[in-house]
């Protein structure tokens, strides 16, 4: 019943969105080529699917995303574990991190393109930066916030490194780290599109630019819609994984 209800919410919500779009289309003064209707965008989506272009862009983008996001999370968590266990070192690193953190990943884009040229790397670097700081800082704070009593108990029972790491530190800090990894997924996905619009000749982001150059607003909107759906699915999948691990470690 609960599941049925949530499906109902999804359908109604998206139907309202499409209806608003249709209303805007009916009352707008723009030409159909610039502001297409939902149906035209849907036909463009079918075109993208049947021509195989969408699949190709999807695979390219997902490859970049997996490398950039995966690498970022791994490096950030490992670095976070180290810095979190060495608060004195972190005091020296933190100011630099705080300086770099508020810089939008897109600001690095021209610099990255200058260094690496157009291709896979700029998009990967942008995704890496987008996910890196939130995951790193959350991991550090999660480690530092671990209740002292866990360390006392471990010490009392003679649990030392490296067992301490995977028996106590990781599970104790996991909920907060997982939360950051989850949130970073969203921003990494946002910046993938930005990265591909500027620094690549392929992928979903580039497909938007390409559609604009050919004045195919229907293809453009269809691509945007697909980007939204994929982002939603990624978030959903990670949520399931997160819940599974959390349950294995006795969380709620």
């Amino acid at each position: 019943m609960k599941k049925l209800n949530s499906i109902k919410y999804v359908i109604v919500s998206i139907a309202i969105l499409i209806a608003l779009w249709q209303v805007a289309f009916i009352f707008s003064d723009y030409s159909e080529a610039l502001f297409p209707s939902p149906l035209m965008a849907f036909n463009a989506l079918i075109e993208l699917l049947t021509s195989g272009q969408l699949l190709e862009s999807f695979i390219t983008s997902m490859g970049r995303f997996a490398i950039g996001y995966g690498l970022s999370v791994i490096v950030a968590v490992i670095l976070g574990l180290i810095l979190g266990s060495l608060p004195k070192v972190f005091n020296y690193v933190n100011p630099a991190l705080q300086l770099l953190r508020p810089i939008s990943p897109t600001a690095w884009m021209p610099f990255v393109v200058l260094l690496f040229g157009i291709g896979d790397l700029p998009a990967i670097v942008i995704i890496f930066i987008a996910a890196f700081f939130p995951v790193l800082l959350s991991t550090v704070s999660a480690i530092m916030k671990i209740d002292d009593i866990y360390f006392r108990v471990s010490e009392n029972f003679g649990i030392r490194q490296p067992a301490l790491l995977w028996k106590v530190i990781l599970p104790a800090a996991f909920p907060q780290i997982a939360n950051a990894i989850h949130l970073a997924l969203g921003s990494a996905w946002i910046f993938l599109v930005a990265g591909e619009m500027v620094g690549a000749q392929s992928g979903l982001g580039y497909q938007i630019i390409d559609a604009r150059n050919n004045v195919r607003a229907d293809l453009l909107l269809a691509t945007i819609f697909v980007i939204g759906i994929i982002g939603l699915l990624l978030d959903f999948l990670l949520g399931i994984v997160e819940k599974k691990v959390l349950r294995a470690w006795g969380g709620e």
């Binding site: 009593i149 866990y150 006392r152 108990v153 010490e155 009392n156 029972f157 003679g158 649990i159 067992a163 028996k167 106590v168 599970p171 104790a172 996991f174 470690w249 006795g250 969380g251 709620e252």
Partner: protein, 257 residues
């Protein structure tokens, strides 16, 4: 020399540039198998003293030796039980109890058998697969007790272990602790601010007072196990403690109008 020997022990902290004396000039001898209660109001240094004997926060004056050896840090032979249980919430009850056994070179079957034995001792064998958050406070503390006993420690340190429990659960757990002690014959050092609890449990009560934290007196409890909380002897010991803590109203007459 006695089993635990504390000589002129003291501890000072520096807080905001000011030296603060938590414990001063403690001399105490504890024999093997004794049940000792450290009793006093908050700030009397009873937890500081316990942590010093357990090796978590060492004293910076005098010395504490256990079995002839100076205490320099926590030992796996002596287990501390905390007021807030210290259970690992991501582990089931049985895996919590197994925690201290994982370092020992014993087979998995043997480990499971030991866990089972101690869970039965605290009557939680039916909750082996539960997580701590699914248990009540009293049950959590029984898990912590099982976990401590499983490694067969020489000494059990208990830092206000029943302080977070309601009065009825507390009394039941006091009985359980006495019961288990009689069977296991451990040396126990038990911190509490509850006078009745101390009289009910201890062989000797170390009464402490604050500003600065010091031992005011040591009272031997001449009662046997399975004590009656309402008996005359019980009240007599209680009375002595009230006396030591200056809680008897000597000038009562002045207030009677």
């Amino acid at each position: 020399m006695s089993y635990i020997h504390i000589e002129n022990a003291g501890k000072t902290f520096v807080e905001n540039g000011q030296e603060f004396r938590a414990l001063t000039d403690v001399n105490l001898d504890i024999e093997k198998g004794e049940f000792i209660c450290l009793l006093g109001p908050s700030g009397c240094g009873k937890s500081t003293l316990l942590n010093a004997i357990a090796g978590f926060d060492l004293v910076n004056e005098g010395s504490i030796t256990i079995d002839g050896k100076e205490v320099t840090g926590p030992s796996t032979k002596n287990v501390t039980i905390f007021q807030n249980y210290g259970l690992l919430p991501w582990r089931t009850v049985e895996k919590n109890v197994a925690l201290g056994l994982e370092n020992k070179k014993i087979s998995k079957d043997e480990r499971a058998k030991i866990v089972r034995t101690y869970l039965e001792m605290v009557k939680l064998e039916n909750f082996a697969k539960s997580y701590p958050r699914q248990l009540s406070g009293g049950m959590k503390q029984r898990v912590a007790i099982a976990r401590a006993l499983a490694v067969e420690p020489d000494i059990l340190f208990m830092d206000e272990p029943l302080g977070a429990l309601d009065a009825i659960t507390r009394m039941k757990l006091q009985d359980d602790i006495l019961d288990i002690c009689k069977r296991e014959k451990k040396t126990i050092i038990f911190v509490t601010h509850d006078i009745e609890e101390a009289v009910y449990l201890a062989d000797r009560i170390v009464v402490m007072t604050p500003n600065p934290g010091k031992v005011k007196g040591v009272i031997k409890v001449p009662l046997h196990h399975f004590r009656d909380r309402t008996s005359g002897d019980f009240l007599l010991v209680r009375d002595k403690i009230f006396d030591l803590l200056n809680m008897k109203n000597e000038d009562a007459i002045e207030y009677n109008i």
